[in-house]
Symmetry: C2
Subunit: 373 residues, 2 copies
């Protein structure tokens, strides 16, 4: 999407590849929203490190990064020995896989690259096919998000006031995003609307990443405390909710997403406000039988007990110094519970916006043959 | 309540008076939870300043502080001229009233002191009656909270897991508090239970003040993000909710309290978890006809856009330096909405715990003759 730096607006993808220098190019997300920087990564080991160190995060984005990283390692191979080439592919694959061992997207993405490469006979041909497959993986991620946008934009009426939770924006994918895709498509269609970003404690992805995205795209928005949505709904100041998801159960229509999503769905149902979940089809889990069995990660207490932000100080000669730091907010002698995700039942969800159209959560299973293909 | 400093446990009130030095003694609440300090204030102008600067906050606590401040100013009067004495009373009264112009408790408290003083004939007698009336106001505040505790403790069963929101604890009153009173009474009765403190963004009174209070009293507790309560209720990990209130409408049973309270009431109703509101009778507004007319204060954006906390740094020679500071969390180009309170309708409230007993919200109006007397 667009980013404006020093008054100049440019289009960026979250992840891209420079074939001339064989570099993976990433938005350094750990600096956002306070600084925008593209990092060029020259070898697959550093690409793996960037995944591990959270330079890049989000399902689609780390999938594409792993695909590019695999092509990068494959293209760096010199020599004519096919056995040595294959051994190198295995090393690169394993290094990238281990960078985020629980994620499924990097593995799927790299498997697609490996499958495409088989059609090549020479090493050069395989190297070329690997990059083409990685590019195709990234382009497909963008196309899926654009299709979510196309379907979702029709739900947004002119003047709508829309709540989002956490960040399922373009920074989590190669471009466009999922929960944000309908917003960007509606904007392109000339609609005017206003977005409330839940700050999304404890990690504040709404206040940092989603708010940054919307500001860059020139979309009217305000950050609210997670406590405020109920009041705004009660006073008639919200018209719809759109969120993303980490896992949707195909059998039941249950939606796992960032902690607090369930609460917003309960509030929306009480106020008869439509509640939508936007996902690529790869987010659907066709195996698990009930949401209660989804493991809910219990994260570090420190996330709840404090906050990361920018401290600004006046320095000598009136200059200002900015520094990113963690402050402890809570009582020093107290601990915390910190479940990272929650599960929203299908009866609270108006629709699931997918690249294949908008479905009621209970209809995913009925449509499984179409959706799986 | 009890505070432990360097291993020694002492009882403190939030507000007290030292007649020997004619000083108002306050817990310096702006330093909590990171430092505990009692300040002794020697004249009524500084007492007014302490109210204005939020050294002390909370309805009952500022009422008692104003009562003591008035007695303090009256007792500092020297001379025998009754007209000059009356002019001094008027000056002290006005100065303390202007310290928090929208609050009703300081005015009610000071009116009680003035009324009591009329029985005195000499200046000395009036001075003595003023202090006695201020002490009586403070003691009555404590008695009311203790009665709330006595009624509320019966609702807490052994092993209960209780959610609180914001701080309606002893720091907001002279002692004991309202939402916390049932907890302290149940603890005294030997019951065991666990409290989840909503951190209560944006000002984090749950993570700072309530958590500090519970830790000092040795009550088992954990802080949670405001987003987490819905998930914990869904998983069967919460048994009841107790909150305080800034204003309860006697005609309708609607409850105004810190932003986010309404959300917790909606969640509790969905999960059939009892939701209680603990208040002194002075919190009941018998005039206003509907909750929608309660003005909801829109507070500073900066509260939502960042956080106050303690920054800890390593200094030279391995020493650590702690510093209280504000960090900007949110995207620098984004703004915020920050409604400070919300209104919970009576159908979501199981009971209102008052010093006169536990009432259903709709029954306040039926019982108004008893409750007003």
């Amino acid at each position: 999407m667009n980013v404006t730096i020093n008054g100049r607006t440019q289009h960026f993808r979250t992840v891209s590849f420079d074939s001339g220098t064989n570099s993976v190019r990433l938005i350094e997300q750990r600096l956002l929203p306070h600084e925008f920087k593209i990092v060029s990564i020259r070898n697959f080991r550093d690409t793996a490190k960037a995944i591990r160190d959270m330079v890049v995060r989000g399902a689609g984005a780390i999938g594409a990064t792993a695909a590019y990283g695999l092509a990068q390692g494959i293209r760096a191979f010199r020599g004519g020995d096919l056995n040595a080439f294959s051994a190198n592919v295995a090393t690169v694959y394993q290094t990238l896989k281990e960078a985020r061992p629980t994620a499924v997207d990097p593995v799927n993405a790299m498997n697609a690259v490996c499958a495409a490469m088989r059609a090549g006979e020479s090493i050069e041909e395989k190297q070329s096919l690997a990059l083409a497959a990685a590019e195709e993986f990234a382009n497909e991620d963008v196309r899926h998000c654009e299709e979510i946008g196309r379907h979702g934009a029709g739900l947004i009426r002119n003047g709508a006031r829309i709540l989002t939770h956490c960040n399922a924006g373009w920074l989590a994918f190669v471009d466009v995003g999922t929960a944000t895709a309908p917003l960007y498509a509606a904007q392109t269609a000339g609609k005017r609307f206003h977005v409330f970003c839940d700050e999304t404690r404890p990690r504040s992805q709404g206040a940092t990443l989603t708010a940054w995205e919307l500001a860059q795209q020139g979309i009217s928005h305000q950050i609210i405390a997670d406590n405020a949505a109920g009041h705004l709904m009660q006073r008639g100041e919200m018209d719809m909710v759109i969120v993303g998801s980490d896992r949707v159960l195909g059998r039941t229509g249950e939606v796992t997403n960032k902690i607090g999503t369930y609460t917003k769905a309960v509030l929306a149902a009480r106020h008869k406000i439509p509640f939508y979940v936007a996902i690529p089809l790869s987010t659907i889990d066709w195996n698990l039988k009930r949401g209660f069995d989804i493991p809910i990660e219990e994260r570090s207490e420190n996330e709840v007990l404090g906050a990361w932000g920018i401290l600004e100080r006046k320095k000598e000669k009136g200059k200002r110094k900015k520094e990113r730091c963690y402050v402890r907010v809570a009582n020093p002698a107290s601990g915390a519970r910190n479940p990272g995700f929650d599960v929203t039942p299908p009866e609270l969800i108006t629709g699931i916006i997918t690249p294949a159209g908008i479905l009621r959560p209970r209809d995913l299973w009925k449509q499984r043959e179409v959706l799986k293909s």
